[in-house]
Amino acid sequence: MSTTARSLVPALREIVGARYVRTAMAERVTYEMDGLPTHRRTPGVVVLPGTRDEVVEVMRLLSRSGVAVVPRGAGTGLSGGALADGEAVLLVVTRLNRILDLDPVNRRATVEPGVVNARLSAAAARHGLQYAPDPSSQTACTIGGNVAENAGGPHCLKYGVTCNHVLALEVVLPDGSVTQFGSPGGEPWGPDLVALFVGSEGCFGIATRITVRLTPLPRAVRTLLADFPTLRAAGEAVSAVIASGIVPAALEMMDRSCIRAVEDSVYAAGYPRDAAAVLLVEVDGRVDGAVAAEAAQVEAILRMRGARTVRAAADERERERLWQGRKKAFGAMGRLARALVVQDAVVPRSALPDVLETIEGIAATHRLTVSNVFHAGDGNLHPNISFDAGDPALTARVERASAEIMRACIRAGGTITGEHGVGLDKLRYMPLVFDGDSLAAMRAVRRVFDPAERMNPGKVVPVHACREWAGATRSPARASPPRAEPVSPAAEAV
């Protein structure tokens, strides 16, 4: 623990209570990883505020002291983004877990950042509504974490990612001041700072109240499982479905390695073990007849594109089983080896067949097991490499293969992350997609929010790759105390 962080412990205890400041090594090591086992850092101090005002007090204290802070939700992220080292305080928001308002008439909800995604959906379901973004970790991940990462999920193909659903935010800035972005109706007060904040990976502040859009639950759903003899055929079927004009709610792909990992686990879903790939396609909507007709069209396309069989879930139980296999696939891969590199590249959909074959070739060259489970409809790949981290030679091969996969995706017109974020894990790849000026612009934006770059330091933007930037930082903070209430419009109209 650093001296600076340690010196703050009494003051932190004063703010949140001794019980919610974790200093013992045994407690701190439980926060040394997120969902990605390849990065570990032990935070200097862990603090768990229970109210917005406590967050404000903690952030003011850290600002005055110049100590770095890393926000964290449930720690299910897959980029090493929510890891803090010994010099930093890890600020965990899981105690801020109240659903503050659920307004079925206007189809909105306002929640604290520690509310678990699935809990919000369950609360909305009582009103015939849903919170659509559904990351695979939705039973554990928090809305605050979803906002920080601009999380996606299988059903984002039709319904959009987190950014498309966030209307307004109350944010505690790095200096401890409180501000609001967006409005309950979704229209910004000027430039769209909600859009800028969502996906900022904890570098701009901490969202303490999040207003999201809810959408009607579909009344009719059809879930199809199609299996293919080759990866290429499955990839081509994806493009054919999208080109048909039907927008499936979800269009997911799993390759043979992934299928077998799932089928060997407690999450076995009845996927055909001999298939080169399966597609899980869901069509939903308001009217049963229309959904049935769209599902029939999708089935015809899948068969025309080489599906050996297409099976429709007969009932809700079978649908849930098919989805459980998909959503727990990452967990099932834990059977293959203890360590797992999880990639998150995105490619243009039409490049999927070629890129999948390239990845297959890279895996063969480096003698590695790569399992693909991903959001095919969005072109968002998750080639996952299972390996034994105790073997240095093997680890080096994994590193080389990961970099080759990433470069192949970028060559195909893609990018390095679609929903997991950059964090620590993909920092080294950022210069592959952005030049020095673009990276410098991102860093300059960060410094507008956080001139000292104390929030989640060392993440997202590789500082060494930034060109010099002349832009200024934020105006000096006002003398007035922070408050969340609207101010007189004339007072700050610019």
């Binding site: 910004p188 430039p191 992350t417 612009a441």
Partner: protein, 406 residues
């Protein structure tokens, strides 16, 4: 050496389209590449020129005081359309009508129907974030952007996002550009998210008093229907003696037929289908009608409060030209009004937590009122900081109202 001579030396003799009429007498420059825009703005930074950015000049009046008028009209290439990926890349000066035609030829569709004339540039639509009725089904302008390239006020080319469907690599400079009114640079290239051209596209209407159409709109919303557009149009905009509720359904044939069945079941079955040419005329005028008025603004409230907002707007500035989306709570207003009335309305709305964005007006009114305003505590310094980041010399003339905006 005059500014015009310097510009010719910098960008070539053909770069200047004209010297605008007195008293403005500003050289109107049309760079033909993103690099030329960067060169121009880098020079403007060094020379201390204020630069007014224009598209076709059909939406925002080209009346802001500046030493140089930069028009994007020669940035008119469409480098790529990828129907299989449902994406396209277009330079900022491409007119929406031309882009639509190219996309339709390839079986794809940009689900944006902004107010204004058909030839408005894509850069103008992005900078002003002016979505139209299709916002109900397809979201605001930012949701259609996959990536942008823009030039900062001091001449740097910056890239945000990319051309893939999902992208969280780095901070989101793409969506920040949507609705920034050019305060954070000049958008020169956009990567767009497309949809398959709808296999079916139908519009149903109901005409009546404002209360009648509002009640019917609420019934459609409560029925759980998912229309592409659900819009209430004032008589002038609906070209009728009464108010119009227009419901547009677009997508696959089964989807549209299913939704049509739902719509027929509400409002006592009084929503009547339009023929294709009637529907096209309705939506075209709903967009182009705003171009006939000197000023437009939008407000964003809650669906439940839409009627009260309409009452308030009617009381303060009249309700002749209104297009309201009861499903999203967005209301667009067109007409003529004064600085005082507009400022009073903005203050009243702010107290209700409803932002008013001034989309289009003569410069003097823009300068006095600002496109944005009524920021919450702490937002003003952030916006000013972003402004200085992307335009450190305050060369871009934008009516944000702040010290650097012009």
């Amino acid at each position: 050496m005059s500014i015009a001579d310097k510009l010719r030396a910098l960008l070539g003799r053909d770069a200047i389209l004209e010297i605008t009429a007195p008293p403005d007498q500003t050289p109107r420059v049309a760079p033909d590449s993103p690099d030329a825009v960067a060169l121009l703005l880098g020079t403007a930074q060094e020379e201390g020129w204020r630069v007014r950015v224009e598209g076709q000049g059909s939406w925002m009046p080209t009346d802001a005081p500046a030493e140089v008028a930069l028009t994007t009209r020669r940035l008119d290439r469409i480098p790529a359309i990828h129907p299989q990926d449902l994406s396209a890349t277009a330079e900022a000066g491409v007119g929406l009508d031309r882009l639509r035609q190219h996309l339709a030829d390839r079986g794809v569709w940009l689900a944006l129907d902004p107010p204004g004339l058909a030839g408005r540039t894509i850069g103008s639509i992005v900078a002003t974030a002016t979505a139209g009725p299709l916002r109900q089904g397809f979201g605001p302008v930012r949701d259609h952007l996959l990536g942008v390239t823009f030039v900062t006020g001091d001449g740097r080319l910056v890239q945000g996002g990319g051309r893939v469907m999902k992208n969280v690599a780095g901070f989101d400079l793409t969506r920040l550009q949507a609705g920034s009114f050019g305060a954070f640079g000049v958008v020169v290239l956009v990567h767009l998210r497309l949809h398959a051209l709808p296999r079916a596209d139908r519009t149903m209407v109901l005409r009546g008093s404002r209360e009648t159409v509002a009640a019917a709109a609420e019934e459609v919303r409560q029925a759980g229907a998912a229309p592409a557009a659900l819009e209430v149009l004032s008589p002038a905009l609906g070209r009728s003696e009464q108010w119009t509720l227009a419901v547009r359904l677009a997508g696959s044939v089964p989807l549209v037929e299913g939704e049509e069945g739902v719509i027929r079941g509400v409002a006592g079955g009084r929503l009547e289908p339009l023929r294709a040419e009637e529907a096209q005329a309705l939506w075209t005028w709903a967009a182009q009608g705003f171009a006939a008025r000197p000023l437009t603004f939008r407000v964003g409230g809650l669906p439940e409060g839409a009627e009260e907002l309409l009452d308030l707007i009617q009381h303060q500035v009249g309700d002749e030209w209104i297009s309201a989306s009861p499903g999203t709570g967005t209301i667009r207003w067109g007409g003529e009004t004064t600085v005082d009335r507009l400022q009073r309305l903005r203050r009243t709305l702010a107290a209700l937590e409803v932002p008013l964005t001034l989309e289009r007006a003569p410069w003097e009114l823009r300068r006095a009122v600002g496109h944005f305003g009524a920021y919450r505590e702490g937002v003003g310094p952030l916006v000013a900081g972003l402004r200085r980041t992307f335009d450190p010399g305050a060369r871009l003339v934008v009516a944000t109202g702040d010290a650097g905006g012009g």
